[in-house]
Structures are given as structure tokens and as C-alpha cells.
């Protein structure tokens, strides 16, 4: 049994790594292409992120002499590994999450912190003032978006706890879409929560307007300023994977519907169709909450990031939560 388990884990981790890297980079390519087209440019080919990674891998990897070597080199690995682990928990299409299970929703929130933390550690370890400013900014940003994120997740869970079951698992949440459990007030609440989550997304994946930690024009890529070669490539992939994972999480929380729920399909066809449909949903989420936002806004100052998240978005999310809570009392069915 143990042997089998081990075997399964190894295969699964290799599989998920390949899956994560390929789809992460693919979606990053799509994101870049989209943004380029929005800016009236041709943009790089969609496979560009792969080329970038191959190139970075072949470059010299410099460890600056002020850096704490082991930590400096470890950070990118942890960052990538934890980003990949994320995908083990998130349901993809019709496939059940490989590791999922009880409590994974909270686990996912925390695992999302780890890549950011690894970057912070790497930034601190590089011993450059810009990296330090970047790392401090990253910490602050992290603390800021975590609040509304926690509100959103707890609100959903709280709502679902009415129906009972293993509510703290993503699998459960995605098989009981929140929209089906709410009345009119709750519907509005749900939309508000979705909105909050959409705004948390660019922060979570460190994109404009919340990319203060890497702000190129201000602090020359901040955290990453000293990284080069293989280490930079790992961060690069991790960023792509994280973006994919975050978009998948939004899909799992709010748009878990599968094609096969609506159309009768053969088993295999259903799996494929659901998977493609899932990719499409991820694409849509990315288009609206990452690509469009990052192309259409200016970068905020760190203080503005904090106030946007702690005040504006948190209030919005809390309002959504309150609506969900009222929903129980003044239930008006909306379907």
C-alpha cells in the first residue's frame, strides 16, 4: 500500500509539474499576447515564455557577494515548488484535485503565501537595498490582500455550511456553486464577493496596479533585481504557474460549472470537453482580472495598495458577507 502510494505520489508530482509548467507558461504567453494586442502591437509569439525560460536556464547564475548564498539559491526553488503544489489542490475541469480533502481551502490560502514568502526571503537574501525595499513592499502587499481574501473565502464557506457536508474542501465548494444556494440578496452578495476576489487576484499574482514589489521604474524589479540565470527562470515559471493557479481558484470558487453538467457526453469526451471548457474559463478570468487590469491601470503607491485592500476592498467584501448573512433571514429565491 505504501509502495503504491509512493508510486502514485511520484507520478502525480511529475505529472503535475509538467502540467503546471506547460499551462502556466502557455497562459503567460497568451496574457502577453493579449496585452500586446490591446496596446496595438503584434506582441511576442505565444510560445515566447518557453523561449525566455530556455534562455534563462542557459545563462550564468550569479550569486552576488553580499547575498546569503544558500537562502538566495533556495528561495526560487521553494517558490516554484509551492506554486506547483497549489495545483494539486485545485480542481481542474472534471478532474478531482489530486491531494484535496478536508480543509484544503484554507491550506490553499496559506500555500499562496509561500511563493510570495520565498520571494521575500530571496529578496532579503540578495542583500541589495532595492531588493530589500521590494521585499518589505511584498510583505506589506501580502498582508493587505490576505484580509479581503480571507473574508471572501470565509463568507463562501459560511454560506455553504447551511447545507452541511465537508464545507472546507474545495471539491465540495466547487460541486456546490454558491449561486445555487442563495436568494436574491445572496446573489448580490456573491457578485460583490466575486468582484472583491477579482481585485485581489492581481495583487496575489503581483501584477499592475499592485506590482509595487517589483516596480521596474521605481526600484528596478525590486525583489528580483539581483537574480539571474536559472534562479530567475524559476521565479519566472513560478510567476506563470501562480497566475494560472489563481485564475483556476477563482474558477473553482465561483464558476465551477462543467460542460458535461449541461450536455450529455461520453465519459472520455466529457473529460476532454470539461478540461477545455475549464481552460476557457481560466482564460476568461485571466483576461478580465489580470490582463485587462494590468494593461488598463497605473501602478499604485504602496500606501494606496494598503488602503485599497484594507479599506475599500475589505469593506466591499464585508458588505458581501453581510448580504450573504441576511440572505438567510430574508430569503428571496432568485431562480
Amino acid at each position: 500500500m505504501l509502495g503504491e502510494l509512493l508510486f502514485k505520489t511520484v507520478i502525480a508530482s511529475i505529472g503535475i509539474t509538467i502540467f503546471a509548467v506547460i499551462f502556466g507558461l502557455l497562459f503567460k504567453g497568451i496574457d502577453r499576447k493579449l496585452v500586446a494586442r490591446m496596446q496595438m502591437r503584434v506582441g511576442p509569439p505565444i510560445r515566447q515564455p518557453f523561449l525566455d525560460v530556455i534562455k534563462l536556464m542557459s545563462k550564468e547564475t550569479i550569486v552576488p557577494e553580499n547575498a546569503v548564498g544558500w537562502m538566495y539559491n533556495l528561495a526560487p526553488i521553494i517558490c516554484l515548488a509551492s506554486s506547483i503544489i497549489l495545483l494539486l489542490y485545485i480542481p481542474i475541469g472534471n478532474f478531482e484535485p489530486l491531494l484535496g480533502g478536508h480543509g484544503d481551502i484554507i491550506l490553499v490560502i496559506y500555500i499562496f503565501l509561500i511563493p510570495a514568502l520565498a520571494m521575500v526571503a530571496g529578496g532579503f537574501a540578495s542583500g541589495s537595498p532595492f531588493a530589500t525595499v521590494g521585499a518589505q513592499r511584498e510583505m506589506i502587499t501580502m498582508m493587505s490582500y490576505e484580509f479581503p481574501l480571507a473574508v471572501v473565502i470565509i463568507a463562501i464557506v459560511w454560506k455553504l455550511s447551511n447545507i452541511g457536508g465537508d464545507i472546507f474542501s474545495l471539491q465540495f465548494i466547487s460541486s456546490h456553486p454558491i449561486w445555487e444556494e442563495v436568494g436574491l440578496l445572496g446573489l448580490i452578495g456573491g457578485i460583490i464577493l466575486l468582484l472583491a476576489l477579482v481585485i485581489v487576484t492581481p495583487g496575489e499574482v503581483a501584477k499592475i496596479p499592485f506590482d509595487v514589489a517589483e516596480a521596474e521604474t521605481e526600484i528596478a524589479h525590486g525583489l528580483l533585481v539581483e537574480y539571474s540565470g536559472r534562479n530567475l527562470a524559476l521565479f519566472y515559471i513560478a510567476d506563470a504557474v501562480k497566475m494560472f493557479a489563481m485564475a483556476s481558484l477563482v474558477v473553482a470558487l465561483f464558476f465551477p460549472y462543467n460542460l458535461s453538467d449541461f450536455i450529455k457526453l461520453d465519459e472520455i469526451v466529457a473529460y476532454i470537453a470539461d478540461f477545455l471548457f475549464f481552460l476557457f474559463k481560466v482564460f476568461l478570468v485571466m483576461l478580465f482580472s489580470i490582463s485587462l487590469v494590468r494593461a488598463g491601470m497605473a501602478r499604485l503607491r504602496i500606501t494606496q495598495v494598503v488602503s485599497v485592500y484594507w479599506i475599500t476592498i475589505t469593506l466591499i467584501a464585508l458588505f458581501g458577507l453581510v448580504l450573504l448573512m441576511w440572505d438567510n433571514q430574508y430569503s428571496i429565491k432568485w431562480w
Binding site: Q39, G43, F50, S58
Partner: protein, 143 residues
């Protein structure tokens, strides 16, 4: 060993080593929609550590010597240098000034340089400079 993908993902760090800004604005122009060098995987980056190409504009003034050397050192191998504009190649209109420290290959003799004459060169000429670099990289690739 340089993989084939290398040349299609060149990241550029731009250093103004005393230029008049003429060349610099043309470099930026090359990034913007009309020319869009991101098509070729070229990006302008903010840290020499990320760069594959260092684009110098302008003659090297006395004060920039150290910085130019340091930036070159900080850039991981393999790397090439792109000198944009006549004044970077030969001093152009500023030659003979007491505050210049000489063309780039005097300061970093080991650098592999590509030159784009013009004052300033058109963005297309800068792209052509990149094409020259590709050809060179392909040659190195073979070996």
C-alpha cells in the same frame, strides 16, 4: 553552450553613457507599437542581472567608466553589447572633449560589440543591429 532559443529571447539593459537622448528615444520608439521589438522576444529590463544585451548610447564620459564596467560585470554570460549611435562608436560630434573616456571597446576590450551608426539611427536600424547579433549568436550556437 547557447541554445537555439537564446537569440529569440534577448533582454536588453539600456545604459545612457553620456548620450544626447536622441538615440535613447529611438530605442524606446523601437519598443512602441510602430516597431514593437517585443515581437522578437526583446524586452527592456531594469537590472543588468537580467540582461543579455547591454545597449549603450552616447560616448563614455569620465564618470561613467566605472559604472559601465560594473554593469558589464553584473550582466551574466553570455552577453553582447549593442552600441547605438555614432557618438558611441567614435565620439561623433563630441570627440576631443576632455571629459570623455573613449569608445566602449577601450573600456571593456573583451566585449562583443555591435554598432548601429546614425545620429540617431532609425528604429529599424536598431532592429537591424539586433539581426546582426542574431547572426553572430547563431554562429556561436553551432560551435
Amino acid at each position: 553552450m547557447i541554445p537555439k532559443a537564446f537569440k529569440r529571447a534577448l533582454w536588453v539593459f539600456h545604459v545612457n553613457s553620456g548620450s544626447c537622448n536622441g538615440c535613447d528615444i529611438e530605442i524606446i520608439a523601437a519598443l512602441t507599437p510602430r516597431y514593437d521589438v517585443e515581437r522578437f522576444g526583446i524586452r527592456l529590463v531594469g537590472s543588468p542581472r537580467h540582461a543579455d544585451v547591454i545597449a549603450f548610447t552616447g560616448p563614455i564620459t569620465n564618470d561613467m567608466v566605472d559604472k559601465v564596467k560594473r554593469i558589464y560585470e553584473q550582466t551574466p554570460d553570455p552577453k553582447v553589447v549593442l552600441v547605438v549611435g555614432s557618438c558611441g562608436i567614435s565620439g561623433g560630434v563630441f570627440h576631443e572633449s576632455y571629459h570623455l573616456a573613449g569608445p566602449i571597446e577601450r573600456i571593456i576590450p573583451e566585449a562583443k560589440c555591435f554598432y548601429v551608426p546614425g545620429c540617431p539611427p532609425r528604429p529599424e536600424a536598431i532592429i537591424q543591429g539586433v539581426i546582426k547579433a542574431w547572426e553572430y549568436l547563431e554562429e556561436v550556437e553551432k560551435k
